[in-house]
Subunit: 268 residues, 2 copies
């Protein structure tokens, strides 16, 4: 069987079943008291350099990793960065890329640089959190809240551009104190709510009427909005877009009617 | 200017000069008490899949990162792994790759999987060390020691194969207690000794007669032997191949005559 048939989540399940990966259900891991996350951005897959400047790419690589830390209630302390780039890349472009990475003020303390046919960037972000909600603690009765508008990334992509991911470190810290489960909306709202439903053994019922739409409804399936989605008994001042109930799976409703949304899989 | 003109070390210097990277002179960084290192392996650059099985590639990715930890006197605690792979990759090959990664018994606690035109693997290794020698503490009078034979990787490469990198965790821990500077021989003996010379502001005088050669003399320039090179006033039971003196640069001698060796640069 090929990766394209099994899919990204199928692969992770298969590796976990064989004991070859551990605790990878969340986007972050805790190692020696540090919260650690890692994301790779690949030219032609996650970005197109004709749509995105090198500086914006650097910022994006920083922001998507900080987003995963935010979902763990963590403040970033350091980045470790691996850059693969074609030898003909202009040094000025690489400098711009690292300037984008530096925008959030998180030091790049190490990494690797190497030749590659197409540019890729792997960022490991390390941070500290007082409490990591994880994904498995949501309970029936918890509300589902989101930290901002959704669909904007999909809408931008349709127009041949990328939105700057929002930085939700402060919201993540506040929510981490009360959330029973939290993640960032990167795979698509239905897919991400599904992660909480499956890990917490609850049903996630989403009322899309409550979602502040920054694009079309179908854009919610694109993901990459990088807002935080949390299950919590206390919504604080965040937008409530649904609730957890007994059961399983994800139910999406708009004006009371069920709707379906696609999600994102890197190998399909 | 292009990366191919500036070179890998030139790029790192340029980024450091602009304050865009921090403390990256060593292959490891210390974040919140953890030793962190990261290496990327790229198909067609660091390996060829017709020379190396997926399982051997996984082992290699684990081993080269553990090698950097060993040079910091650190025991590995966890890996975070990003895999980029073409969608048509066989799942069995990916499983074999993670089996190779798992050979050292270090858990893979997170990471990312993504589509890519050519396979790449970024491994972040996290560990703990009682004492990280770094590269800047070598003093005139220190001896230079190495933990094993050199040149084998270059010789194997000439024959269209790869050697399994040695695991020097135990030697690294022992040496870390007495070493004033330590790193692993990955860029080539002259280049790596040069890192110590430059950072410690000493001259490294190497007597190649003392080196246990696993290939030709020219193979020393290939690097990738992943033995540890340490400056230390106490050589313990390791092979002495030179000493640090007042001055700068690296001097290589064979039978008393000066010799020159090439080194490795990823962008050239």
């Amino acid at each position: 069987m090929r990766l394209s048939e099994l899919g990204e989540f199928g692969l992770i399940d298969e590796l976990a079943r064989r004991g070859l990966v551990d605790r990878v259900e969340d986007d972050t891991a805790i190692v020696g008291g540090l919260v650690v996350t890692q994301d790779s951005l690949v030219d032609g897959v996650h970005f197109r350099l004709d749509w995105l400047s090198h500086r914006e790419l650097g910022f994006r690589a920083a922001a998507v990793n900080v987003s995963d830390l935010s979902a763990a209630g963590a403040e970033p302390e350091a980045f470790v960065v691996s850059l693969g780039a074609p030898p003909e890349t202009e040094v000025g472009d690489v400098v711009a890329l690292y300037e984008g990475l530096a925008e959030l003020g998180v030091p790049v303390v190490g990494g690797d640089t190497t030749r590659a046919e197409r540019l890729f960037l792997t960022v490991t972000a390390l941070g500290r959190s007082d409490r990591v909600p994880g994904r498995s603690g949501a309970r029936p009765g918890d509300l589902l809240v989101v930290t901002g508008p959704l669909g904007g990334a999909g809408a931008a992509f349709r127009e041949g551009r990328y939105l700057r991911p929002p930085i939700r470190t402060a919201a993540g810290r506040r929510l981490s104190r009360v959330a029973t489960a939290m993640l960032d909306v990167s795979d698509g709202l239905a897919q991400d709510a599904g992660h909480i439903a499956r890990r917490s053994a609850v049903r996630c019922e989403l009322e899309l009427d409550g979602v502040q739409l920054a694009g079309d409804l179908a854009d919610l399936g694109f993901g990459e909005d990088f807002e935080l989605l949390a299950a919590t008994p206390d919504p604080l001042d965040f937008t409530v877009i649904g609730r957890c109930t007994e059961g399983e799976g994800v139910e999406l409703r708009l004006h009371g009617e069920p709707v379906e949304l696609d999600g994102w899989d890197h190998f399909r």
